[in-house]
Symmetry: none
Subunit: 207 residues, 4 copies
């Protein structure tokens, strides 16, 4: 199949189009989430953007940098998303449920643990540090919400960081698929409800 025959040099500027750098980052993020660091080649990213590999390198000097940027961007978005949902005026339990439901509804399994593993194997120390900082911020956001609710007495007193991690871990249960591709629950809403019910039994304040 003939690709759109692009020309050398600077292209005429199209005001509507997303800036290439953003396009690259978004495409890369999507691919990395789907297939992982090693299964995505710079060529794949390029093809996904309809530009050449060299263009990718024009914006991101190495694959590691691209991955780093992709992870950071992703975590930033998730964090903002979490903040947005947690700010709503409904009960804490309801907000958590909504959080889970929305995440499960997103097409892709966002598996923090695995991203961090791939990062630790493939990135340089300084890149890894950046990614870790970003991850930390994300967890901290949930942690702070947990702390706030502890202070309010909504949930029992405990290790807020631990709660944040158990929350994320339980959320990942919702992504599970067996050999036939069946989920544990029929709908995302259902999954979210069961997961949060489970979580809530452990964290609620029943004094």
């Amino acid at each position: 199949m003939k690709q759109s025959p692009r020309v050398l040099g600077r292209p005429r500027h199209d005001d509507k189009a997303k800036p290439t750098k953003e396009l690259v980052l978004d495409t890369a993020t999507r691919l990395f989430i789907k297939d992982g660091y090693k299964n995505v080649s710079m060529d794949d990213v390029a093809k996904g953007c309809n530009v050449t590999k060299a263009t990718i390198y024009y914006y991101y000097p190495t694959k590691g940098e691209l991955y780093t940027s992709a992870l950071i961007e992703m975590m930033k978005r998730i964090r903002l998303h979490i903040i947005g949902i947690l700010e709503q005026p409904t009960s804490f339990k309801e907000r958590l449920e909504q959080l889970v439901e929305i995440h499960l509804s997103a097409t892709m399994d966002i598996d923090m643990k695995n991203f961090m593993r791939e990062a630790s194997i493939n990135l340089s120390d300084s890149q890894l540090k950046e990614v870790h900082a970003s991850e930390n911020e994300m967890y901290r956001t949930i942690e702070q919400a947990m702390q706030t609710e502890m202070d309010k007495g909504t949930i029992r007193t405990g290790n807020a960081q631990f709660f944040a991690h158990t929350f994320m871990a339980l959320m990942s249960v919702g992504y599970f698929k067996d050999g036939e591709g069946n989920r544990l629950f029929q709908t995302e809403a259902n999954a979210a409800k069961e997961i949060i019910d489970f979580f809530w039994l452990s964290v609620k304040n029943f004094s």
Copy 2:
């Protein structure tokens, strides 16, 4: 320059030594757990076994087969291990705690979810099916224990499969390390206790 001077022909069999096929599988398993499918080359496995790549291919026709076998073997071992611990005569809660502690004490983070992801990306359908069957068996073992305890009334009635998955998910919290390499808890015993206390609040029967 001279390579390691191995001798031609069939080597005299050393009774103590593991049969080569096992050696290969064990080495591969260790490496795959540590670094993941794509980060381990057949050369790495060969080096790790002190044999040549061709020897690996003598026993396993493709890398995918080797990975398949490694995963299946690993899950089988874990399953037997789980059975062994769950058979003990102590209380269910104590047995779960022991299970977590022993797993966290193993040097490596055994992340089922990630193995399955790499499998789904890199294996053939039939290989993937085998691996899924093995995974399923492993989960089923925990599930059955949950069911047994539900029947006994130790834990509340609920979805045993869901409980099995939440259990595994919570266990993974114990592996978490932040940017500085710090764990959430000081010792594995401590982590196990906190994790199971949390789990228990959700599953115990307080009727």
Copy 3:
């Protein structure tokens, strides 16, 4: 153009043929001497050997290693050559002249200085060290001959190392070609004679 269609796997062994490793080294040496490190690609070497790039890498793990080996081999050969000529029973002056003539007759301009420069830019420290050691040995061989003749009184007392270097430097004059490709002298024999006459005026013992 279709290349000779080579097959996968180990080729049937041809007793007459040079071992591939040697073939690679010889080809690489020839190309590096002619065009320099950066102007020779691993593909060029492969094509020159009628094998694939991967075969080159089978024997030499990096281009730097290949260059290192090539330089060392080349200097070793030159050194042995020098020794062979200097051992002959003719007068020192005659032997030097022969040395120059033979070197100029070799098709290629062997420019030590430039090889060392390329080495210093492109090789790792440890590789560079190896090459320097080899270079040193080569110069030392000439130096020792100078020293021997000083002791015999054939040439004047002086810095033997300096003499070795002036000798090599003067030899390089014989390679000079102007824009039209003309040499300074008509024949190699002529060039050698003039160069050594010049050298001799500076080093002869006229006490």
Copy 4:
């Protein structure tokens, strides 16, 4: 032609700043001398000038042109330099010594032979011709000085071109560094003296 109308008072333009074209040429020359043609990328030159690559191309249509210009400029400078020194009223031997000393004192090893080799590999025929012409002029300058001194009887009658080349070749001995970075002589002055003493023994007129 309109003269640039000189403005009164302080011009907005920074008079001290070199015109960009010169800046590019000087930077390129420096880099090419240090690292050679292939080891210097147009990006390196651009970075060294603090302009973009496209700016380099605005002034020099290809890398080959830039190299050509750089070599010609360099040889021109050296030639003028040589002329300047040779014009002084001291003895010929003293002037040669000074020439060597000053060249050795310049930070970089100016290796004509190597520049010409890189030129012959990388430049187009017409570019190569230009460079050769420039090299020729440079050698001719030394040659003429040799001829003048022959005519005066300062040095013996001989092939002036050959003398010019032996002179340059011997000068290069002063640049030699062994594996530890040690020179043959302690100071440039010392090196210059030894080199010219050696040269002089061969060329002096002792009739």
